[in-house]
């Protein structure tokens, strides 16, 4: 049986960075597997990231995996009143079919092996807490069982690694945003801005977005918590939204998927297992942003896996520092954002319409997201300290 030190399940942002960091931190025998036939595809994402978080990993200047640099945020009220914010350095819309391969190349250059078209179909512990996990892989060459001292589950919202390892990764319906998105051409919008459209009649429990991929072409999507919906599927919400906003547009691609808008799972580690990214619900519950979160979690997961291996102890207590460091880095902030989201979910269309008109009286140069949030939250002063920067950190 083939033996590896680290098996990373899933070749998204969390898995690619985890493999990259584990190998760079000195772990030998790092294997990354990706179920799909291509790393980075199919795209199930609006592809937006904040600039600061991205630059911690890769330099976006002139990179082929950048679709568009974004310099403005435009909030839209249910009655279509637009609020142009004054932020200048917002972030990027990625081409994830190229972005994840760029991450995977870094992992490979650091020494990780990568296998595409290969999925984990079963996982069991061979012999007690310190023993390797036996993971059955199914790929182009048939089935093979690999012994892995550490398994990093970066296998997304549908994580099976978490389930096999006995970690609680189920999601309550109130914390699941159903998303649908078209790639649309022949539409008019500011190609240097992202649009975030709020209001329960537009997108109950979530928001609609326009993320430019280029001039006249954008990801136009919507996220809805269907517990709050009026019975339409999210695809219908999207069709109705597009018919209203972009009646002459051409949809050239459809993407659907789930965004978990809860908080980090209570346990992200067990003996020989670390969960990272969507698999561990590491998503900004307000913005639905997951890419940078996943990469930061992947970095921690890779480093802690390498550390624990070097120490010869991959049991849960020795992997727990990963969980603790994640909570200090972002997990605790997500708990706060979750509370804010619960408040925002109580606002009706009329509130957002009045807010938009009110903040448009603020001179444009001073109309920052912080100011808008401050106005929005004037009746909830306890939320003020955490109001700013929520979407700008990362908005996909």
């Amino acid at each position: 049986m083939r033996a590896v030190d680290v098996l990373v399940v899933g070749g998204g942002p969390a898995g690619c960075v985890a493999a990259w960091e584990a190998a760079a931190a000195g772990a030998h025998g790092v294997l990354l597997i990706e179920r799909d036939r291509a790393i980075g595809a199919p795209v199930r994402c609006a592809e937006g990231v904040g600039g600061a978080g991205l630059r911690e990993f890769l330099d976006p200047d002139g990179a082929p995996w950048v679709s568009r640099r974004i310099v403005r945020v435009i909030l839209v009220a249910p009655d279509d009143t637009e609020v142009r914010l004054a932020e200048s350095d917002v972030g990027y819309i990625l081409d994830r079919t190229r972005f994840e391969p760029a991450l995977a190349e870094r992992a490979s250059a650091a020494g990780a092996a990568i296998r595409i078209g290969t999925e984990a179909v079963a996982m069991a512990r061979s012999n007690g807490a310190g023993a390797p996990w036996h993971v059955t892989l199914r790929g182009p060459g048939g089935e093979e069982t690999v012994a892995a001292r550490v398994v990093i589950g970066a296998d997304g919202v549908e994580t099976m690694v978490g389930r096999w390892a006995g970690l609680e990764t189920r999601v309550a319906a109130r914390d699941m945003e159903s998303c649908a998105q078209y790639v649309m051409g022949n539409i008019a919008f500011d190609p240097d801005a992202i649009y975030l459209h709020f209001g329960p009649s537009v997108a109950p429990g979530g928001y609609a977005w326009v993320f430019p991929k280029g001039e006249g072409i954008a990801n136009v999507g919507i996220g809805v918590v269907t517990l709050r919906s009026d019975g339409r599927t999210v695809r219908r919400y999207l069709d109705d939204y597009v018919a209203h906003r972009f009646p002459g547009g051409t949809a050239t691609g459809l993407t659907v998927g789930g965004v978990i808008s809860g908080v980090t799972v209570r346990r992200t580690v067990t003996d020989g297992v670390i969960l990272a990214g969507d698999a561990a619900h590491m998503i900004n519950p307000l913005s639905g942003g997951g890419i940078i979160n996943a990469m930061k979690a992947g970095r921690l997961a890779g480093r802690h896996a390498a550390r624990a291996l070097a120490e010869g102890n991959v049991t849960a207590p020795n992997l727990q520092p990963y969980h603790d460091e994640w909570m200090r880095l972002l997990g605790d902030a997500h708990l706060k954002y979750y509370k804010i989201k619960e408040t925002v979910n109580r606002y009706d269309d009329d509130f957002f319409n009045r807010l938009a008109r009110e903040v448009n009286h603020i001179p444009h140069g001073k109309r920052t997201l912080g100011r808008v949030m401050a106005s929005a939250l004037v009746h909830h002063p306890s939320l003020l300290p955490v109001a700013a920067q929520l979407f700008l950190q990362e908005f996909c």
């Binding site: 919202v157 099976m160 389930r163 189920r170 998303c179 695809r235 659907v256 789930g258």
Partner: protein, 79 residues
């Protein structure tokens, strides 16, 4: 419903599982959103798309509305 007279009906057994979820493979995009919503973990990703294990499915319907494309529906369980 109990009849209007006669001895009280015996306590109902655990609610019989009369309905289960099924995936319409033509509509399903295999996004996996429904998998973590399923309390017993009855939904599986296969090479041929998502499938619901009708034995494990409890008929709770938590997967039905969230499906972005409406690919899940409830049907009468057989046997």
């Amino acid at each position: 419903m109990s009849p209007p007279s006669g001895p009280p009906a015996p306590p109902a057994p655990a609610a019989p599982r009369t309905r289960v979820a099924v995936v319409d493979g033509e509509t399903c995009d295999a996004c996996g959103l429904c998998m973590p919503l399923c309390p017993p973990g009855a939904i599986h990703m296969t090479r041929r798309g998502l499938v619901v294990d009708p034995v494990t499915c409890t008929g709770c319907e938590k997967c039905i509305a969230p499906c972005p494309v409406g690919a899940l529906e409830m049907v009468d369980a057989r046997g």
